[in-house]
């Protein structure tokens, strides 16, 4: 019975958090979705889907700050909105069709160099959000491939492809800068 109690407490706390996120961010999420879809009902659907995804990932976000959860929700709702938009327009985005890229270059970087980190993060923000969102999900929120795929409406292979391509793009940026 202890298990049931613990789950009850756990869930009560999750519930309060969930309601706080819902109340605090639903309008912001709607605006993000509406900017992409330009349809009231479809934007609401994107927000709704995103809260279902949040519900499934409460364990991941319950230790995050409010602003970190806000960022997570923006990433999720943006991807849900894009997914709905593409579906409406019958656009198929096929990651598998992208050029295969090699990621076997062994360059060593100074991990503790803050300036380098800042620069790399700037490059990440410059990437198309379809790439940077996957990187954020993986490295900031510690999500596994399957969880990222589910949250962003991708296949696991699609997640891997985007991670690989994002990595190559960042490496290219660093290499270009080193040349100048």
């Amino acid at each position: 019975m202890l298990g049931a109690y613990l789950t009850l407490i756990d869930n009560e706390s999750d519930k309060k958090l969930f309601e706080a996120f819902y109340t605090g961010y639903k309008s912001m999420m709607y605006n993000v979705a509406f900017d992409i879809i330009h349809d009231v009902h479809l934007a609401e659907d994107a927000v709704m889907n995103s809260f279902f995804i949040l519900a499934r990932n409460m364990e991941k976000v319950s230790d995050q700050t409010m602003s970190e959860v806000r960022n997570f929700l923006v990433v999720v709702v943006r991807n849900q909105a894009i997914k709905i938009y593409n579906k409406q327009k019958d656009i198929t985005y096929c990651d598998d069709a992208l050029d295969d890229v090699s990621d076997n270059i062994n360059v060593v970087y100074e991990l503790e160099n803050k300036e380098l980190q800042r620069k790399v993060f700037g490059y990440i923000k410059e990437l198309d959000s379809s790439y940077s969102d996957v990187l954020m999900m993986k490295y900031f929120y510690g999500m596994k491939t399957a969880e990222i795929a589910k949250s962003l409406g991708l296949t696991a292979e699609g997640v891997h492809t985007r991670l690989r391509r994002a990595t190559v793009k960042i490496r290219q940026k660093l290499a270009e800068e080193a040349m100048t």
Binding site: A4, Y5, L8, E19, M28, M48, E68, V75, L135, Y139
Partner: protein, 225 residues
């Protein structure tokens, strides 16, 4: 300390990821959501509260969650001047996942909001009221006594629709409560659970008490004076 490009990206994101989203997003016009949206979200929030939700909220477990149990509720005829309604429901399909989603055919006979309060009239003097949650669409009251837990739900039909129930290893039986068809099972946490529809609302009693006592408690549920 040196590392590869993935490790560098990881460090960068860990240290600067807070600024990933443009804070200008914080300035936005509040949006008035549709009734449909609000209704769906209320359901989701309600499900967050139910203690079996952790069983199904992970994607992996959800993948094993199959819609397995369908309750068809048809309404009923007026039986007498007292306007007693008899609800009829049936189960379709088999249970083949660890959880079941209950689908109800929403009709226009059940009240859309809680217009009449029902409570347990069974002697619960040993118990203390632990928590009470209620709004226009549902009521949830939890009582505890030592290691015993008793939870009573009164849901509108629309609110109940789509509830996810832990039915792992459960032997679901059709039964009745005060003449109304009911569903009973013992869940894998040792809780006896009874669900029934009196034609107005859907009630659930869940408790780690003996089966007979749980049925007595269910039978004692009455509209408050």
């Amino acid at each position: 300390m040196n590392g590869n490009i993935q490790e560098l990206m990881k460090c960068s994101i860990e240290n600067f990821g807070d600024s990933y989203i443009d804070t200008s997003l914080l300035s936005y016009e509040p949006h008035e959501f549709s009734a449909r949206f609000e209704r769906k979200m209320r359901k989701l929030i309600k499900k967050q509260r139910r203690f079996y939700f952790p069983l199904v909220k992970t994607p992996l477990r959800l993948s094993f969650t199959v819609i397995a149990m369908v309750i068809l509720m048809t309404v009923t005829t007026m039986m007498s001047v007292g306007a007693v309604r008899e609800a009829v429901f049936r189960f379709f399909s088999d249970i083949f996942g660890s959880t079941s989603t209950v689908h109800v055919t929403v009709d226009n006979q059940h009240p859309e909001t809680i217009e009449e309060i029902y409570d347990i009239t069974y002697d619960l003097s040993d118990f203390t009221l632990d928590s009470k949650d209620e709004n226009e669409w549902f009521r949830r009251i939890e009582y505890i006594y030592e290691d015993k837990v008793l939870v009573f739900y009164q849901d509108t039909q629309d609110m109940f629709e789509g509830s996810v129930i832990n039915t792992e290893d459960a032997d679901i039986k059709e039964t009745e409560v005060n003449g109304f068809p009911a569903t009973y099972f013992l869940d894998n946490h040792g809780n006896n659970k009874i669900i029934w529809d009196n034609g107005k609302y859907i009630f659930t009693i869940l408790a780690n008490l003996p089966k007979e006592e749980v049925f007595e408690i269910a039978k004692s549920v009455k509209a408050s004076e």
